[in-house]
């Protein structure tokens, strides 16, 4: 919008004597009276310019600011956490089995699969894109490794020759697409998958996991290339791939077939527990690491004179989380077996897996240049382009991350069930994973979200399903309630966006 224009009709007089009521050039010096003072005393006023920025706030003020942000629409994960508390309270009151150690541990392993897929989806959602194929893509990865496990490495025999060769071609194509987009790192796993399939090493649980990750990356390269380089909307690409991958799973497993997870390590991923000692080691490692990172950053900023939360508040926060961790570890180390003959204790393996992914995912998003670029592209792709960011590459990379992480999710899901069937990754898997991210507070509009959102949201979804099933509600009720909760979360997102746009949060 051009607010001011010179008069469209130029004066006909060419004379310089024609003087309108103009501002002579000389007056500009008088205009900003403060400027001269400002530049004279620049050094000393530098701090005063950002008075609020440098003054250390008290606890009361910091809490006040927090509530101001909340009322301004920056809710973060708070609605989901609140919902989780409500759900826990309701189910504890209604069902005597809900708040038992056995059920809580069960809840963790039930929710872990979709939570992990949701964590990968957060990256895609941050760009305002969607990956509808993450679920069935995870199914493809599961089918490949389960088949590899069953036929002891002889995938050529397991798949039949033309399916096998087509898969090899697909791997090579994926690697090529990654190179074309200059995302060279992503070209390595597809090539590795190609080599692993060709040399046909005998089945080994760790090899299967590696194969799953590599296939996941290859699928991500394909999706990302179509969206970022070719420029097809992600909704259409992933909708098409959602269907296609379902067919591929069927192709690998065969009509009506089921591939059992006959391997102790793979079976234990979702069903095993750390030993009590290992559980405590995990607690010490995670707790000390968390405290070191948070306090280290806090005192680092304090030393440089930058604005920080009050030390008391930060200390309390760290203390509360560490104590909660200790309580949880202690509780999970108690014997929760309903059967006298068997002892079930320790933190489930899925907890360190999810924690590890959380730390890695959050580190990448918050602390690396790449993560900053992901947020920038999600916020304003054109601005990112002008700032010299390779938007195509970033857009492709999030799909690669999503599919790779989905492969980990598939390992957990298949391990939990104990087999891979043609429905693997189909059905509600993807919808629950997207739901987990959105319920946790990740915006579908892009630019806003954190990896931990998927954990909070995944917990909400798992709790609804687990609690309603304990109450003996049919699947219909579970689906309806989950759907309504997702709707509620999306509304909260839309409304808080509107509110923060209107309020202009400080």
């Amino acid at each position: 919008m051009k607010t001011a224009r010179p008069s469209p009709s130029p004066p006909t007089s060419p004379s310089k004597d024609f003087v309108m009521t103009e501002t002579p050039a000389g007056t500009r010096a008088a205009a900003p009276g403060s400027t001269a003072q400002g530049s004279a005393a620049q050094g000393s006023t530098a701090v005063a310019d950002f008075g609020i920025d440098t003054a250390q706030r008290g606890v009361r003020q910091a809490i006040g600011d927090y509530f101001a942000r909340l009322s301004g629409g920056q809710l973060g994960a708070l609605p989901a956490l609140g919902g989780l508390v409500v759900l826990f309270t309701v189910f504890t009151v209604l069902s005597p089995q809900f708040l038992t150690l056995g059920n809580i541990a069960n809840l963790l392993t039930q929710g872990a699969g979709i939570t992990v897929i949701g964590m990968g989806l957060v990256y895609v959602l941050l760009l305002g894109e969607i990956d509808l194929s993450a679920g069935t893509a995870s199914g493809v990865t599961a089918a490949v490794w389960a088949l590899h496990l069953k036929v002891d490495g002889n995938l050529l025999g397991g798949m039949g020759s033309w399916v096998f060769y087509l898969t090899l071609v697909a791997m090579a194509l994926s690697a090529g697409m990654a190179v074309l987009t200059k995302l060279h790192v992503a070209a390595i796993p597809p090539v590795l998958a190609l080599v692993l399939m060709l040399i046909g090493l005998p089945a080994n649980p760790w090899l299967e996991m590696l194969l799953a990750l590599c296939i996941g990356t290859a699928i991500g390269c394909l999706t990302g290339f179509l969206v970022a380089k070719v420029g097809i909307p992600s909704f259409v690409v992933t909708l098409a791939l959602f269907l296609a991958w379902q067919g591929v799973v069927l192709l690998y497993i065969g009509e009506g077939g089921t591939l059992a997870v006959n391997d102790e390590v793979l079976f234990n991923v979702a069903n095993g527990n750390l030993s009590p000692l290992g559980s405590w080691l995990l607690f010490v490692l995670a707790g000390a690491g968390y405290a070191a990172v948070v306090l280290g950053r806090h005192f680092g900023r304090l030393k440089r004179g930058l604005v920080v939360q009050p030390t008391a508040l930060v200390g309390t926060k760290v203390g509360v989380i560490v104590v909660l961790g200790a309580v949880a570890t202690y509780a999970l180390n108690l014997n929760r077996s309903p059967n006298e003959a068997v002892v079930i204790q320790g933190v489930p393996y899925v907890v360190p897996i999810v924690l590890g992914l959380l730390v890695l995912g959050t580190f990448v998003l918050d602390r690396t240049r790449y993560g900053r670029h992901v947020y920038a592209v999600g916020g304003n792709a054109e601005a990112a382009r002008r700032a010299g960011i390779d938007v195509t590459k970033v857009r492709m990379s999030v799909f690669v991350i999503c599919s790779t992480v989905a492969a980990i999710g598939a390992i957990i899901l298949s391990s939990k069930v104990g087999s891979v069937d043609p429905q693997a990754g189909g059905g509600n898997t993807l919808l629950f994973a997207v739901g987990a991210a959105v319920i946790g507070g990740t915006s579908l509009f892009g630019g806003k979200g954190r990896v931990r959102d998927a954990i909070v949201g995944g917990a909400v979804i798992a709790t609804i399903e687990n609690g309603l099933r304990l109450l003996g509600e049919p699947a219909a009720v579970v689906s309806i309630v989950t759907g309504l909760v997702l709707l509620l979360a999306a509304s909260v997102d839309a409304l808080s966006r509107r509110r923060s746009a209107a309020a202009g949060v400080r």
């Binding site: 001011a4 130029p10 004066p11 050039a25 690396t368 010299g388």
Partner: protein, 257 residues
């Protein structure tokens, strides 16, 4: 007068059959604000984009600090210290001021972002520019007013030890008070020794901050004159007719078209 920091000599640019810039000469001096005026389609934006390396020029010379240089891409321009603040602000709403100012050129400490260092640097630049309207450098850009956003965009351009800053209509969408802030800032940039090019349609703005006015008329540089030696009416004439008295492009009968 000081030595020009940026000088264009006889620059031509065509888009297919459309000859947009005809033998344009243009000079930017450090410590001065040069206003670039002209009607819609006169070639102002094209000229800026040629300087910024977005469009390659067809012919003509670009001298930086007296040395002939070639600017083939925005990266070349940035390396020389030429920064452009575009009309539609290139800011990410979901990031805060510091993140936006360092976008694409984040400082690292090892593998991780040096957030504290960037925050200090951003605060220093804003303080040097006497920006007082922003409460915290960690404010999200979404919550800033139009003037504050423009301020951030300009400060971003200053952050990189830039020598020449090109501003494409920085006050076009702003209210009175915000225009005031931005014009003050433009003036301070020049006072800090930068060469500033201000594209504007607004004669008030031009006469308030500019030292020199360069008027483009249908792709030709009609005149580049000190603001003090000219009047608003003359500049308007230069914009609309290409000449004013003895200034500007010679009358059509003598001009070679």
């Amino acid at each position: 007068m000081s030595q020009p920091i940026l000088e264009l000599r006889g620059v031509n640019k065509s888009f297919g059959p459309v000859h947009v810039l005809h033998d344009v000469d243009f000079t930017v001096r450090p410590g001065e604000v040069t206003a670039l005026v002209g009607d819609n389609g006169a070639g102002k934006s094209t000229l800026v984009k040629c300087i910024a390396g977005i469009h390659p020029t067809d012919s003509g010379e670009l001298l930086f600090d007296g040395e002939p240089v070639t600017v083939g891409s925005p990266r070349d321009a940035a390396a020389l210290g030429i920064e452009v603040v575009y009309q539609d602000l290139a800011l990410c709403d979901n990031l805060d001021i510091v993140d936006n100012m360092f976008l694409g050129r984040e400082r690292l400490r090892g593998l991780t972002l040096d957030d504290a260092g960037m925050e200090e640097a951003a605060r220093k630049v804003l303080a040097d520019l006497s920006v007082r309207t922003v409460k915290s450098v960690r404010t999200s850009v979404a919550s800033l007013s139009g003037g504050q956003r423009q301020t951030v965009a300009i400060a971003k351009a200053v952050l990189w030890d830039s020598r020449v800053v090109l501003l494409d209509e920085p006050t076009a969408a702003l209210g009175v008070a915000q225009t005031r802030q931005v014009l003050d800032l433009v003036r301070r940039l020049a006072d800090n020794g930068l060469g500033v090019v201000l594209i504007s349609h607004n004669m008030n703005d031009v006469f308030e901050v500019a030292d020199t006015v360069a008027a483009l008329y249908l792709g030709r540089m009609a005149a580049e004159v000190p603001t003090a030696d000219t009047s608003r009416a003359q500049v308007v004439e230069l914009i609309t007719a290409g000449r004013s008295g003895d200034l500007g492009i010679p009358a059509p009968e003598t001009a070679t078209v």
